[in-house]
Symmetry: C2
């Protein structure tokens, strides 16, 4: 019988296979088993060609199985002596529920490690030409999920106009309500705002405009299931200049308006 | 005469050479010239052994030359036809002034690209066992610089107790004032708080306690020049369990208190 294995929670980065870290790539190379949830991770199989790959996800980087079931799977496979990589979209600890997986492993006495990844909270705006901070424009940024009003409302209601760059992950469905809410709180309707969908993937698309137009912003229908986020703040106004390079992914389905 | 070259702003990640992205590593391999500012990047020379490496930094990831001078250097070398990598600590767009470099390049008509990196805003807490978000504890996080009261006070003053995880980068020197400020705003003195210094480097050290003790938190004297940040919020309470793995860098000079 083999000894206990180990689990590494690896951040896969925002989409493209080459935006994983070198450490993450090396952990994949050592893995017997990879549990992954990102569609874009399919391209990452090259890093672990001999491992068994188990898909535990669905679109937009959400898991398809209950967290408790997944936690038990991680423990079970590690107890069989396997070297397991749990490959997670973005960074394991940014809305990735990596903390819950880590706690379950700690409780079970399984050695585990976290390999941070490039979070789409910063990288999706960056690849769209939007720096979340910029001297004279923003010296702080807030990251929140936009799935549920009960989650984002309490924090957004505290922030006065232009007080920070707002990054609202998974906020596409609530973009009209979020824009209304901010304008009601005193934010100018002319505040630059962006929608970024499928960053760092071939389905990359973006919309650049202002809060006034955010609710009616057209999002490509094919990207409805892709991870998307909203960015609000003066830094969005830099996108036209900073995304001008041919090597940055240009919108493929919908051009920015600025 | 050669044609115009190009510049890539590459995020080096939080410290360790293997926390750069695969894309960043590949851009280094293609580079003729690397302008870098991180001490820890010295280990990254292996990725670009044939390039000329110019050090433009000083301790704690800050540049040693004026931004305008650096911008002109980037333009000048690209105009000589060189493939230039500007290697920046963490992510180029998280307090990295990458936006300013990008704008200078755009203005000069130099092709440029941004390669996002793992930001220490998320990775330094993660490597200390602190997830910036965690179900039931925090569904948003704010990142701000702690160098100057004029920068952090306006945003921190808006946030009620426990409303978000706070990540205060470069906030070591102001930790007493920041703790006082939050307590005066109604945050409990018992709110978990951490100091993380030199994350992902051999000089890694951390202190885990509460807001009440943050002002008097001992920071290893040798780490005074290393990049450090503060984390405030309930998620800090998970550090004892989530940093339990031997593969996570344990405090080398100062143990946590929890």
């Amino acid at each position: 019988m083999t000894g206990v294995g180990r689990v590494t929670l690896v951040g896969a980065g925002p989409g493209s296979a080459d935006l994983i870290t070198v450490r993450g790539m090396r952990r994949l190379a050592e893995a017997d088993l990879v549990l992954y949830d990102a569609l874009s991770s399919e391209e990452m199989r090259v890093y672990a060609p001999k491992a068994r790959w188990f898909f535990v996800g669905k679109r937009a980087c959400r898991q398809s199985i209950a967290q408790e079931v997944l936690n038990r799977l991680l423990v079970r496979y590690a107890r069989r002596g396997l070297t397991v990589v749990r490959l997670k979209c973005g960074d394991p600890f940014v809305f990735g529920r990596g903390g819950e997986e880590g706690l379950a492993l700690a409780e079970a006495g399984i050695p585990f490690e976290v390999v941070p990844g490039v979070s789409s909270a910063v990288a999706a705006p960056a690849l769209a030409g939007i720096p979340v901070t910029h001297r004279g424009l923003a010296s702080s940024f807030l990251v929140v999920t936009g799935h549920h009003e009960a989650t984002y409302a309490p924090i957004l209601d505290q922030l006065g106009p232009d007080s920070a760059t707002l990054v609202i992950m998974m906020g596409l469905g609530q973009r009209a309500r979020i824009a209304e809410r901010l304008i009601a709180r005193g934010w100018s309707g002319g505040t630059p705002a962006a929608v970024v969908v499928g960053a760092a993937t071939p389905q990359s698309a973006r919309w650049i405009g202002t809060l006034d137009g955010l609710g009616a912003a057209e999002v490509p229908p094919t990207s409805a299931g892709a991870p998307g986020l909203l960015v609000v703040g003066a830094v969005v106004g830099l996108a036209a200049e900073l995304a001008s390079d041919s090597a940055s992914p240009l919108p493929q389905q919908h051009k920015g308006q600025t």
